[in-house]
Symmetry: none
DNA sequence: TCCTAAGCGAGACGGTACGTCTTGTCTTCCA
DNA sequence: TGGAAGACAAGACGTACCGTCTCGCTTAGGA
């Protein structure tokens, strides 16, 4: 049986308050322009207390980011997995829905307000998700193209599409965006999944 | 005729020294970790002099970045333009060659060491280039998909592909990377350029 | 009858441990450089417990100092009193013996390591002792010089003599120091005690 | 010719402002209770600037104390020297006049508000002065008592007399205090100076 | 060729934020 | 139930960097 490390509830409350304060501040100004002082004032926490929990501002961010993106992945992965299992077409709109529902957060990340660490962690999360999916789809054969390239390609294209979407005031509904994006990546991904080596070898 | 403002040569030398010092430092540590002090020491320039030319570190970066990316665009654009004019297949490997020739710089930018401003400016440069190209190719008709989406899609996919490439030790030659990437975006881009509305309307 | 406040023995042990820890620390570093943290660690006491007993570091010191100097006075006074009663010459070496026996303590106090509070309390203790003695000796007449001046003069001279002694490695035996010091203050003190007004009024 | 080290006038002004601020504050609260923040606010100086000049509060104090006490010694020494040269009686009232003219300062030092460092430096200054004087007076013979003891004895007695004087509202004029003090130390000091070994050897 | 305005290095300064330390309060847990 | 443990707010510490400001020296480019 796991010996549950007993943690003072106050600690959790303090850490949560600090991270929420950081997120709040990041929605209104650039990550680089936020000071520890700003964070503890927003969170109503003593400055020394901050340093009891985190080494610095980056530590606060990355420590909680991990959990945050694990959480995001956990929301998306089962839906993808389920579709793959059922042989259904991939519900590509779920990632656009996720972005829409947390639009300020994703806008902050994708427009660079959050600093490069956040951007990279999101990029990595999405890449990993698609690597799993692609791996699952081409099981049993060898892809003519390295899976890493494919995963990066899909992740890069979906994120840049979302970035455009959020920057253009999110006029279109997520279903439309998902459909457009699917149109764009579908042909080549189908070929890869079909292990259509002819496709790969023919002249471009 | 343009009235050429006569500028002391020392001024240009100072500015150049400062920007080069910044670039040098960015190759070895994160942009956020570089101080004005570091820059002026690296450049052998008095600290007060720095402020005669630039408001702050960001100002030094963005002022020179503009020129730098205009320069990059200027290297790439004519080749693309020439290919389009001649009706030849797009020489997609030129952008991979560019990346390979300045690998440390691009690696710094794409892995986030350079901060989000540099990343965004590169992204924007590439997006603008492809917007031009796409615009030129579909001239005379209307794309079923907004050009902005297409440009972002192409730029996002090429940059994420390059990112993967540079992070995986740049094993493959640029020609190979260009070929792979072309395979991936070719089908859908062809359809768009052909104004193949059937393609767009058929079920995905 | 005094209502003896019943105090838990543990409380006394805690307080004693704290004061002893402070004294120990004061022998090795300046009072100003000692923190409450240092004291409770040295005493193996919880920090919160410290504040149950004392307001702060100064409180700990002064509360116990009182008792300490009352104790010192209690050791010296009876000997002085006895000599006065018996009309014997004052055993001035007892104060030098006291200093020698607790040399580290007195050295700490007189060289200023203990902060000014301790120094002043010692000074006051010795002054009070001599005021008593002088008062007793000149009983029945009026001193031409205020007793306060005399007591301060005697106390100041004996303490500075001890200070010199302890700082010069305590080479001489206490008897020698006492004898020398007596030589120095004897003539004028004799005159005062004899109420020798001629002495006071003659040209100096 | 001495190459006069060129020092920015601002530096001197800054240092002087800081020391004066400290002295001002020391007249109204205990040295230990004064923070660097207090000092720089009183002096209207940036806190970082403080650290350009001094390591800490103690450094500010001791650095300037040296000059201050050298100054005090310089005021007193020539008068003593002159009297010795001329074979005149020592003008013992000059030290009491000095104390009266700077009463707040000396009161602060002698009552311990200034911390032990200041007290000790004053003590040492006075002791050194009297050592010189005594040395000069007994030239040509050997004192039966070490000069160190004598100097400490005289310094200790004069300072404790001044302390009593300043604490008792400085009622008496300095001439009176000087006369009383002279009465007290005169007999034994005369004997020492006369090399009156009989005095030293006879039974006390 | 000189001279004069500028660019520049040096560095003092006021200020802000940092990360650390200590203080005194308060809460939780344990014996 | 009282003490140990330790979370916490408050705030001073000494350091680092910022952006501003003189102060002289040097030097380019017009006279």
């Amino acid at each position: 049986m796991v010996e549950q490390k007993k943690v003072d509830r106050r600690i959790l409350r303090t850490r949560q308050a600090l991270f929420e304060a950081l997120l709040d501040l990041m929605l209104e100004k650039r990550y680089a322009d936020i000071s520890v002082r700003d964070i503890v004032e927003q969170a109503n926490i003593g400055r020394a207390t901050f340093y009891l929990h985190y080494k610095d501002k980056d530590d606060l961010l990355t420590s909680n980011l991990e959990a945050m993106f694990v959480d995001i992945a956990a929301r998306i992965r089962p839906l993808l997995r389920q579709a793959i299992m059922g042989g259904q077409p991939l519900p590509s709109e779920i990632i656009f829905r996720e972005a829409q529902q947390n639009a300020p957060l994703y806008r902050m990340i994708l427009t660079g307000q959050g600093g490069s660490a956040v951007w990279h962690r999101l990029y990595q999360t999405i890449t990993d998700l698609y690597r799993e999916v692609i791996q699952a789809l081409i099981v049993g054969g060898d892809s003519p193209i390295e899976v890493g390239i494919l995963a990066n390609y899909v992740a890069g294209s979906v994120l840049s599409t979302i970035k455009w979407w959020l920057e253009s005031d999110t006029r279109h509904p997520p279903e439309y965006m998902a459909a457009v994006w699917k149109k764009l990546i579908q042909p080549s991904m189908m070929a890869v999944v079909m292990l259509d080596n002819d496709w790969y070898e023919q002249e471009g």
